[in-house]
Symmetry: C2
């Protein structure tokens, strides 16, 4: 048996309870990971509240972002062994990792950065996958492709919501890995503005004021790439207005009943990013894309190119409070906890 | 002076009149083309009726697809000379080519296929640009990229509305240039089904019946790429249902008030293609993308890889009837006319 944070029905943060659950047994491609640290994300409260359809498996173990140590491997696991320290986000259609133990498919796991603590590592997987997939596939940018330097010359990206978890690592990736010459972020408070600059933003503009006018004041008629890390329904028209013709838009929420005709004459592509899509739909394919991203990220962290986005460590016994904090929309960077029941 | 088909206000096909207009003078990057043949497209009636905002320049010369001979070149033209036979679609924000003469920017023109008549050549530019840009940038397929064969292995595309102008060349390009292994098209009448097969479709399914069920019956759980050549508002849910996770959708109409949340969990990108976007927004950049596509197309036609999509030649004096025929939605391939006033 093991302890875990679970829910038995969708609802408010008070529905979260520490429960006793059966310690799981790995399937063929699974790692059984003893969790050391976990992180919270907006997806946590969206699933807990029932806003996003999930599967309640037995007692509904929550949370999908963490770092720990491999304790068992499934019969067909190829790239991991017992004792490996790993970090991963996982699959929302399987039980989460806010627990003593968790199963995760090896194809969506990676060895954690050697130089980081489990806490600093736990901050990274979900948001790094979200940001990297959006840059690579949403903006169609491949820094390893021939002539990449000339393709990216003069280009600009705007992260709307720069100080959140995805923004924090997205700014770093855009600047240091995808080498976009101009990286702009939005933030509205002194502490979030500072944080965006610390992550590497060249300019920070205020999402409480007109975005296009602020870009113009900085000398930009618009941006080539816009990464909207907040609810895309809430600022649709204003964000699309900021994108140059032939530009690209990545969103990380569903967008309902919006007018995409605005995209048409400017020929702006819309890419809805959700890093759980691959784990949910990959089936028995040999799709190691998320393993690759997390493995590259670990190397870049160990080389000092990227830094953890952890800003806060909370008491794991107070996980419901951490959910409420996520719901406030005010969180900066990432909140992590040491796993301890 | 010259003759041209023009409108003085948006409205029905009867608004189209043969008018006298000033023979235009080329700007720096322009070719002055004496038109030999032109084609009709749905954009014609959409602009004529006022459904799409355009600019009415003087007498509002209509039509954007044709073939002719360069009679003058602008002061800074680099790649064309007087006497060149060219084909092009042009720019809807400038006067059209359903006229004795037309100006077109050299960067969006190309030498016509040598082996084709002006009539057969006039059938191609607008639809080829639309299909090629959608395949290249919307589906992110580059047949010249390294390891393209392994990237495209096992992939499938569905053209909704396979027998129209864009479908007719899109099927050919998908099969012969972009080498997508499985090309499926929709059509509902015996003559349109035959036409799709003639263009190279591997399978034809009926858009009057459930698309997903027909794909399943053919042994496909869905397609990787879906090119919707008809009004994307009219069949949004049904077409998105046909796309596999991590798939890509190209549409060629605006999409208003649709629920893009359907795209999200499957992580399907939406690319709104309109070939006029580049000409409208390219400004003074050296963007030769449309020149390149039309030049490659001419070579592929002359090599016998691609064939013209012309199916009908109409009397240019009856252009209003050709607009009405376009509006019926029943047209097969392309309708062209010899320019004669």
């Amino acid at each position: 048996m093991m302890k875990a944070w679970g829910i038995t029905e969708f609802g408010p943060a008070t529905n979260l309870k520490v429960v006793d659950a059966k310690k799981p047994t790995p399937g063929d491609r699974d790692l059984l990971v003893k969790m050391s640290a976990v992180a919270t994300n907006p997806i946590d409260y969206k699933i807990r509240s029932g806003a996003i359809p999930s599967q309640i498996v037995e007692v509904g173990i929550q949370g999908w972002d963490g770092s720990g140590t491999v304790q068992e491997v499934g019969a067909k696991v190829q790239r991991f062994k017992v004792g490996d320290e790993v970090y991963f986000s996982g699959n929302v259609f399987r039980p989460g990792c806010h627990a003593e133990y968790c199963l995760v498919d090896e194809r969506i796991s990676a060895k954690k950065p050697a130089k980081l603590s489990h806490e600093d590592a736990a901050a990274l997987p979900l948001t790094t996958l979200t940001a990297w997939e959006g840059l690579l596939e949403g903006f169609v940018l491949d820094p390893e492709a021939p002539n990449y330097d000339s393709k990216i010359a003069g280009k600009s990206v705007l992260f709307v919501g720069g100080a959140g978890g995805v923004g924090a690592i997205g700014i770093q990736l855009a600047k240091k890995v995808f080498k976009i010459p101009t990286v702009i972020a939005t933030a509205s408070r002194p502490e979030t503005i500072d944080f965006c600059k610390k992550m590497g933003a060249d300019h920070v503009i205020d999402h409480r004021k007109n975005l296009k006018e602020q870009l113009t004041a900085l000398g930009f008629q618009g941006v080539n790439y816009l990464y909207n890390t907040v609810d895309a329904n809430s600022n649709w028209k204003e964000t699309v207005d900021c994108i140059l013709p032939q530009g690209k838009l990545v969103v990380i929420t569903g967008v309902d009943s919006i007018d995409c005709t605005q995209l048409w004459f400017k020929r702006i592509s819309l890419f809805p990013e959700i890093m759980f899509s691959r784990p949910i739909f990959m089936g028995d394919t040999e799709d190691w894309a998320q393993y690759d991203i997390l493995t590259k990220t670990a190397a870049l962290v160990d080389e000092g190119v990227l830094v953890t986005t952890r800003t806060t460590t909370f008491d794991f016994a107070k996980l419901p409070d951490a959910h409420v904090y996520q719901e406030s929309g005010k969180s900066i960077g990432k909140q992590v906890a040491t796993v301890k029941f």
